[in-house]
Amino acid sequence: MSCSIVTIAGRKGGVGKTTLTLALAAHYIRAKKRVCVVDLDPQGSATMGLGMPINGAHLAEVLSGDIAPQPMEVARWDRLTLLSGGAEVETAEPRNLRKTLSSLPVDVVLVDCPPGFPHLDLAALGAADSVLVAAEAHAFAIAGATRIITAAAGIKRAGEPLRTALVLNRVDERRALDRHAPQILNGALGVQLFTIHQDTALAAALNSSEMPPTTGRAAKDLKAVVKWLNR
């Protein structure tokens, strides 16, 4: 059976795309799945979070369809491999990404998109089986998320639109916007909606290139996302 490709996008920066990607990676490898993280970010945030050197030269060639992917083993996390990001990725013009990533000998491929760079987002959507659109309960983030959701709606998999969910990150119900946003957005965007609560332990772990905690609010919220992805 081939792997499942999940694209994590959001267009706006700082909405938790990389945090969501790495939290998911941790969840899957703890469930004994083999995971490959594809870091499409010229800044290489996911690569940095995994404590690996930022260098996008190999991924740039992979994206151009010129060579087969050879992910690196991530030293600190078992069963996790990485196609590292870096400045070189920005200038790549991706081709046949779905075919390339399908060939990876893993169970789950997590494609972490950069902020900005619509052409990289579009390529990652074209490769995906499912899309998680990261956002915050704020108009700026929702405008960016809508761009991704609209683009994903135009992509078909076996006659159906690409499976897409909106993930509201860092939700803190003491804030009015965070409290009301799920209700306002539910239905308005026509996609599944998840919320992940503010979790300082998760941010602190990734800040020091450590695996996210197995407990806490975010870990609990993430289970619903994983359940939807596995469906």
Partner: protein, 293 residues
């Protein structure tokens, strides 16, 4: 209480954002369809730049030396063009000059001797001019750290589409950077600061001649360069207007190549394109070398 007031306000913001995002998504889709990205300028390590696929031409020694002197003084002003795998498309002399500059001073003479026509330049002149070049760490940034600006033509894979690479090379070679008047005067000032002068008659070995260097950098005629320098000396800086058109012969060549490509694309025959483009490209290169002497 606060909740009931806050909700409509939050809703207008978030739902408005969905409208904005939807309209931006339409623009994204249109842009993706209309304009595949063609070119990105980026800083790349010199060692990553690979040689041209079919190296029809060798770098000419005298040209490389002049370019190296100009890069040592001013940096690499016009990014060479590479394909998406960092294979050189246009700018052989610039890249060769950069390689020469980054070599150890002792290696430079051996490297230079490999270039075409190196034997025709007197040994004492070569030694004096190479010896006057700064060492790698004293070069202008980012070259001092081994990095050069390049224009990456991301749609092109030179190995698999030689005709496209050659057409791109020709196009790149006739599109010069447009220098504004203040930029030109700043270049003149910088070159003088690096010891470039206007010697009478032929420049002697080790002498840095200002006018040939400017011809090389700006791609302008001797007459125009003299005009610039006269105005600069007279303190009459602002009124100078540059006519930035590339030499007529280059424009004619480009037009010919462009019409030829269009005609062959219509007919669906592409076979002779490559050989013809190679010839035209060689001719263009020769024209530019002659013009810069």
């Amino acid at each position: 209480m606060t909740s009931s007031k806050a909700q409509p306000k939050a809703a207008s913001g978030l739902l408005g954002a969905i409208q904005t995002g939807t309209s931006h998504a339409a623009t994204d889709a249109q842009l993706a369809k209309d304009k595949p990205r063609e070119k990105v300028v980026d800083l790349v390590s010199l060692e990553l730049i690979k040689d041209r696929v079919a190296d029809t031409r060798k770098a000419k020694a005298d040209h490389v030396l002049g370019v190296a002197e100009s890069i040592a003084a001013l940096g690499l002003l016009q990014p060479p063009a590479v394909d998406r795998k960092h294979r050189l498309i246009a700018g052989l002399h610039r890249i060769t000059a950069c390689r020469l500059l980054l070599a150890e001073p002792a290696e430079r003479i051996a490297m230079f001797a490999q270039l075409e026509g190196a034997a025709r330049i007197p040994t004492d002149e070569v030694e004096a001019r190479l010896g006057a070049l700064p060492s790698a760490r004293d070069l202008p940034e980012p070259l001092a750290h081994g990095r050069v600006p390049v224009a990456i033509l991301i749609g092109i894979d030179a190995e698999n589409d030689k005709a496209a690479a050659l057409a791109a090379e020709v196009a790149e070679n006739v599109t010069r950077k447009k220098y504004t008047t203040p930029e030109i005067y700043s270049l003149v000032g910088q070159l003088r600061g690096h010891g470039y002068t206007e010697p009478k008659g032929r420049p002697r070995a080790g002498e840095k001649a200002l006018r040939p260097a400017l011809r090389l950098i700006l791609g302008m005629s001797e007459k125009t360069i003299r005009n610039i320098l006269e105005r600069e000396k007279g303190g009459k800086l602002p009124p100078f207007q540059t006519k930035e058109a590339p030499p007529k012969a280059e424009v004619s060549l480009l037009n010919a190549i462009s019409s030829y490509r269009k005609a062959t694309e219509k007919q669906g025959t592409t076979k002779p394109t490559e050989a013809l483009l190679t010839t035209l490209s060689e001719l263009l290169d020769e024209l530019r070398t002659l013009a810069s002497r």
